[in-house]
């Protein structure tokens, strides 16, 4: 409590921190609103700026961009029927029809109020559950952490869109990339191919900027760039108060679903939104229709999406497990600043944890205020020439990669990973698992080898309850597709055999 109070006073009275929060939230909203710029790309491109900041300010900056872009995605979903982020994919179903009826402003305000409510619930979830889970995390020693990393990697690969099998291979490739450079125990170099720069390992920033920034621009260049026109005027901003109140139950239910799904490693915001929306659709299927401008649909999607943001920070901070690519970038940011996410972070750096709580709360408030004031301006930004945006991102990719270590080699790495990401995308190989492998790989290696040194036996993984449970869940999840295929074949064979 003292730390929380101290962090609040420190952040609110520091003009630099406040300016960073405002700028990051604004940039996050703007980039999130632009179609083609994902939240992950936003975070990856902004990550180099945080490198020169002290850890607290870096988190204020990155959380501002993270939360801002999560909301920003809804602006384009409502105004031009294209979600800026995966989390806003269902906001468009009811938001855009409302906008087409000349009520774009009302739809945006519904979404804003709902996302703020979801954000607040997510924040409370983070503040309540994170310390509890961190305390439970103290039962985790190296065998538990090693298996947890295997579990996390497998879940993240499983949840990636595309082929699960290729996602697992991509994750393993990321894990290999994480081993490039000097081994932390023996100081022997691996995979350096005679290039001295590689002995320091592969920095997360050029990698993330390449995979999530440059790759997207390369994909974009394949076809003519189509700039969608906002279909409507903004019109009235405020919905009727009694109409907003009608959706309170939806807001509460959806935010709880969003929070819980957000806490589950690898579930991500897209799953949270889908579940929240589906739940409300089911509950009101007899009395209301969805998908034609129903405010309840907007509220369900938005509360679920933003509650998941706070939820996703729980496993990230307490166990070091990212829930999706965005939180994987945040893990990378913490590691760059020498902060290892996990239970120890709560005892060694309680002030930093308090800073994260305050930063998220500040970002929620800033997003609400800035969006209300600047709704019309954000809408106009959607018609800005794409060339300015894409050229700016390209030069930012290069500059940001250089700025990490003031090394031209990092620019080359960024180009290499951008091109590789593009090739992988063309071949249908998911690229996000590589990021998870790069982030979680070194932690897996460290804990696995420490386990074997301390316990001297592989059997330790099967003699402790937590590793056994996690390994069992991992095995079930990875083998499910096999069972699905076998069942499918049996059913087909039974059909072919006929009733006899």
């Amino acid at each position: 409590m003292t730390e929380l109070l101290h962090a609040t006073v420190t952040i609110l009275t520091d003009p630099v921190t406040m300016a960073l929060a405002v700028v990051a939230t604004l940039v996050g909203i703007i980039l999130g609103a632009l179609p083609g710029i994902s939240s992950t790309m936003t975070l990856a491109v902004l990550l180099p700026f945080s490198f020169s900041m002290e850890p607290g300010n870096a988190m204020v900056f990155l959380l501002g961009a993270f939360y801002g872009s999560a909301w920003g995605g809804s602006i384009s979903a409502i105004l031009i029927n294209i979600p800026g982020t995966p989390g806003s994919m269902l906001t468009q179903l009811d938001g855009y029809p409302l906008a087409k009826r000349g009520q774009a402003g009302v739809a945006l305000t519904y979404a804003l109020i709902a996302s703020t409510f979801g954000g607040v619930v997510g924040w409370f979830g983070l503040v309540i559950f994170a310390p509890t889970l961190a305390r439970a995390g103290f039962a985790f020693q190296s065998p538990e952490f090693a298996v947890l990393m295997i579990f996390g990697l497998s879940m993240l690969a499983y949840a990636s869109p595309g082929s699960t099998f290729l996602a697992i291979l991509a994750g393993m490739f990321g894990l290999l990339l994480g081993t490039v450079g000097l081994d932390m125990i023996t100081n022997l170099s691996r995979f350096d191919f005679g290039i001295p720069r590689l002995q320091a390992g592969i920095n997360i920033i050029p990698f993330a900027v390449g995979i999530f920034g440059l790759t997207e621009i390369l994909k974009l260049l394949e076809q003519p760039i189509v700039q969608e026109k906002a279909a409507t005027q903004i019109g009235e901003i405020w919905p009727r108060f009694r109409d907003v109140i009608k959706t309170w139950a939806t807001a509460i239910r959806s935010s709880i679903v969003g929070l819980i799904v957000g806490i589950i490693p690898a579930a991500g915001s897209a799953v949270a939104v889908s579940m929240s929306y589906a739940q409300e659709k089911k509950l009101y299927e007899k009395t209301e229709t969805f998908g034609n401008g129903n405010p309840r649909g907007i509220v369900a999607a938005e509360t679920g999406n933003n509650a998941a943001v706070g939820g996703a920070l729980v496993p990230l901070l307490t166990l070091g497990l990212p829930g999706d690519t965005m939180t994987a970038v945040l893990v990378g940011a913490l590691l760059i600043h020498g902060l290892q996410p996990g239970p120890q972070l709560f005892t060694k750096h309680p002030d930093f944890i308090a800073t994260i709580y305050v930063a998220l709360a500040l970002t929620i408030v800033l997003t609400f205020v800035l969006s209300l004031v600047l709704t019309r301006a954000f809408a106009k930004l959607l018609s800005a020439p794409p060339r300015i945006l894409y050229l700016g991102i390209l030069i930012l990719c290069v500059t940001g990669s250089f700025a990490v270590q003031n090394a031209l080699f990092d620019v080359l790495l960024m180009i290499f990973f951008g091109a590789l990401g593009y090739l992988f995308t063309k071949l249908g190989i998911p690229t996000a698992p590589m990021m998870f492998g790069l982030v979680l790989g070194p932690l897996l290696e460290e804990n696995l080898r420490r386990t074997l040194v301390v316990y001297g036996d592989w059997m330790v993984f099967f003699q402790r309850p937590i590793p056994v449970v996690l390994l069992a869940i991992t095995a079930v999840v990875l083998l499910l597709p096999f069972f699905g295929k076998v069942r499918e074949r049996l059913a087909r064979a039974a059909l072919e055999a006929g009733p006899d």
Partner: protein
């Protein structure tokens, strides 16, 4: 989202199960190639074996696991595609690797490499402007823009402003010592 769900060797959802494609085979081949490069690097390093002390499996342990999984997985993917192709009697091309689609992305990668190489001799600012000038025009053209007289002045101006703005942000804002 045109082909978000794809079948792998192990298979996930068979919603889009269709005839096997060349790219599915190539995806496996890419992993085999990665595994070959990685195993060559591990084999030819005599020092890595020295790292095995006591119960520590050594610095090459995780890399070998990763390399083996990637190599065998890639191989399994290739075999799976060939078996499916034999059954279906066809190996479909996806239309992804055509010059009409690839030339601009390839040109961007090449110009980025030249941009990187030019930074040291020309300086970051000059190199950025030289890079930005043609590419702002390319993006303008790809967005369906016409090259009227107005744009002959506006586009170079935008390129200089974007490059200069980002340079100033990093140089003055966070003291990055550019070449």
């Amino acid at each position: 989202m045109s082909r978000e769900i794809n079948e792998g060797a192990a298979g996930t959802e068979s919603v889009l199960a269709g005839p096997p494609r060349v790219v599915d085979f190539a995806a496996g081949a890419v992993f085999v190639l990665i595994a070959l490069i990685a195993s060559w690097s591990l084999w030819t390093d005599p020092y890595l074996e020295l790292g095995k002390v006591g119960d520590d499996p050594g610095p090459s342990f995780i890399p070998w696991i990763g390399t083996t999984v990637i190599g065998l997985g890639g191989l399994a993917q290739m075999i799976w595609v060939l078996i499916k192709a034999k059954k279906a009697g066809v190996l479909k091309t996806s239309g992804e690797f055509v010059v009409a689609k690839l030339w601009l992305p390839a040109l961007l990668v090449v110009s980025l490499i030249i941009y990187q190489l030019a930074m040291k001799p020309l300086g970051f600012f000059t190199a950025s402007i030289i890079f930005a000038l043609p590419w702002v025009a390319v993006f303008h053209w790809r967005s369906g823009g016409a090259f009227t007289k107005r744009y002959l002045i506006q586009l170079p101006l935008e390129a200089v402003l974007i490059a200069g703005g980002i340079y100033s942000l990093f140089y003055y804002g966070i003291n990055v010592p550019f070449p």
